[in-house]
Every structure is written in structure tokens, then in C-alpha cells.
Symmetry: C2
Subunit: 171 residues, 2 copies
């Protein structure tokens, strides 16, 4: 069961299923999954599911984690503004560790300056932001570009996690 | 991808994650997943997620499906009262096909008369109903007894689906 730790970064207003699905899915595989946010108190999704925050983003040492998940909803706008978020995200790209983002999750990637020249997708409402940041946006249920696995909306979740798990298990 | 069809039976008030997780998880594995309810209109979960109903319970021919999933929440009380629900559930037990139930899902198993002498778990609030119906209730995150895989609450989902997938993939 010692399969390594995976980090989820989010905040209040997350799209519930986009956080809960990978959270349970990666536990199902035997990974330890930790949730980080600005403060160490429960965060609540758009649909009312509450999840425990294990660490503040300032406490996170990204070296401890083998992969990163960025759910969507309104959480990304709340957490992308912090320097600690950027520091963490940059680590995963510098070390080429697997990163999964869905829906509004790529807003965090834009702030971290890691989308330029990368193929990715997102919720269509932020497509133009992804493009303006230099991302090569594609309208597909899942886009895999190296360490980065992105999807658009909840119905893409099966394809999104299928590809992310494939990447993780070969990493 | 022709891995067979799996049926989910539920109704308004379902516990969102207990329906959505297996729905996406089984699609991730390449199964076709269909949702049946009393009427052919979208059903809405406790937390507001809406899902499309593919078939009414009266239209369901259970021979077409290789497995059955019964999510919890308030859906089971609404759907357990119909003869078609009972007809469908009995088929899966008679044919020894995999059945997954969680939380209040076992209320449907009680109505179908299939819990007597079986080891299972459920949400603790219906424990005494399971026992009164002759079930051997256990307080564990997942209980596997032959074709039946049961769990108590959403945090049991990783263990619940891990065991259910194991059963399915060897069936």
C-alpha cells in the first residue's frame, strides 16, 4: 500500500465530483491522497460536500508528492492568487511529475505560467484565457501532453482518470 | 470496449457521490452503464446533481445486464416499493451476478427478500432493518459475500469499488 502521496489543491466552491472522484479513485488504488488549501479548515463544494483539508498550501513541501490534481469549480480562482500555489505547481512541472486538471483547474496552470506551448483542454468558458496564455487548447474529452492530463467537464471524468491512472502507474 | 452493460437503479434524492462514482468508475473500465428509475426523466441527487434516466424499471430486461449497482441516499425508499424493482433485483441474485449496494441501497435488498443469511453492511441507521430481515450485518468498510458487495457510507467508496471491480473483472 506504500504507493506514494498525491496532492489535491482546491478551495471553497470546488466542483464536488471533480474533487471527490479523483480523491476516492486514487485511494482505491492504494495512494495516500492529501488536500491542501489556504487555511486548515474544511472546504465546501458547490453542491455542499465538505472535505477535510490536510495541509495549508504554505505547509506543503511538493517534494513529498508524486502527482498533483487540480479539480474545477470556483475553487481554482480562490487559490490561484497565492504564491504558495504557484510554487507548488511549478515544482510538478519542473520535475515532470503527473498533473491532472479539469474544468476551471487550468486557471491555476495559467497563473503558474506553465501552459505556454502545451496541448491541453479546460472548461470552454476559460478556453480563451488558456489560449491567451499560450496554451494549445483542444476540444476533446481528455488531452494528454507529457505529464499533463486535462479534461473539460464532469462527463469527461472516466477518460480523464483512465489516462491519469495510466500515467501514474507507469511513472 | 464491448464489456457488457451494468444497471444502476435509483430515484430522486440519491446520494450523489454514491451514484456518480460507480457510474464514472465503471465507464472508466469500458462498461456501458445505464440508469433506471420509475419514470424516464432525469433524477436529482440530494446535492443537486442531475442524471439522465435511460430506462424505466418496467422496461428493464435484467438478462441484458451483467451487474447491478444500488446507490444510497433517499432514492432507495422511493424505488423499493415497485414490483419491477423487486423483479430486477431477484434476477441478479438468482443468476448470481455481481451486485453492489451502499448506504441505504440495501433497503432495496430487504424488499426483494434477498438478505436472509447473507453477510452485508449498510448505513448504520438501517442496520436493524437489515438484521430484522435476517441479514448478518457487519460494521466494516466493505463486506463481500458471494455476488454481493456492500458498504456503509461515502468514505467507504474506495474499498467498495475496489472489491466490486475485482468481482466484475473475474466474472
Amino acid at each position: 500500500m506504500a504507493k506514494g502521496k498525491i496532492l489535491i489543491i482546491s478551495a471553497d466552491g470546488f466542483e464536488d465530483i471533480e474533487l471527490l472522484y479523483p480523491y476516492y479513485r486514487l485511494k482505491e488504488l492504494g495512494y495516500t491522497v492529501e488536500i491542501a488549501s489556504k487555511e486548515k479548515k474544511d472546504i465546501v463544494g458547490k453542491h455542499g460536500y465538505s472535505v477535510r483539508v490536510d495541509k495549508t498550501i504554505s505547509e506543503v513541501n511538493p517534494e513529498e508528492y508524486i502527482a498533483l490534481v487540480l479539480p474545477g469549480g470556483r475553487g481554482p480562482e480562490r487559490i490561484r492568487i497565492y504564491e504558495d500555489t504557484i510554487r507548488i505547481v511549478k515544482h510538478f512541472f519542473e520535475k515532470n511529475k503527473p498533473v491532472a486538471a479539469i474544468c476551471h483547474g487550468p486557471q491555476i496552470l495559467i497563473s503558474a505560467g506553465v501552459v505556454k506551448g502545451r496541448k491541453l483542454t479546460s472548461y470552454i468558458g476559460i478556453r480563451d484565457d488558456v489560449k491567451a496564455a499560450g496554451g494549445l487548447w483542444e476540444d476533446k474529452e481528455v488531452v494528454v501532453d507529457g505529464n499533463l492530463v486535462t479534461a473539460r467537464v464532469p462527463p469527461d471524468i472516466p477518460a480523464w482518470m483512465r489516462e491519469f491512472v495510466k500515467l501514474l502507474e507507469k511513472a
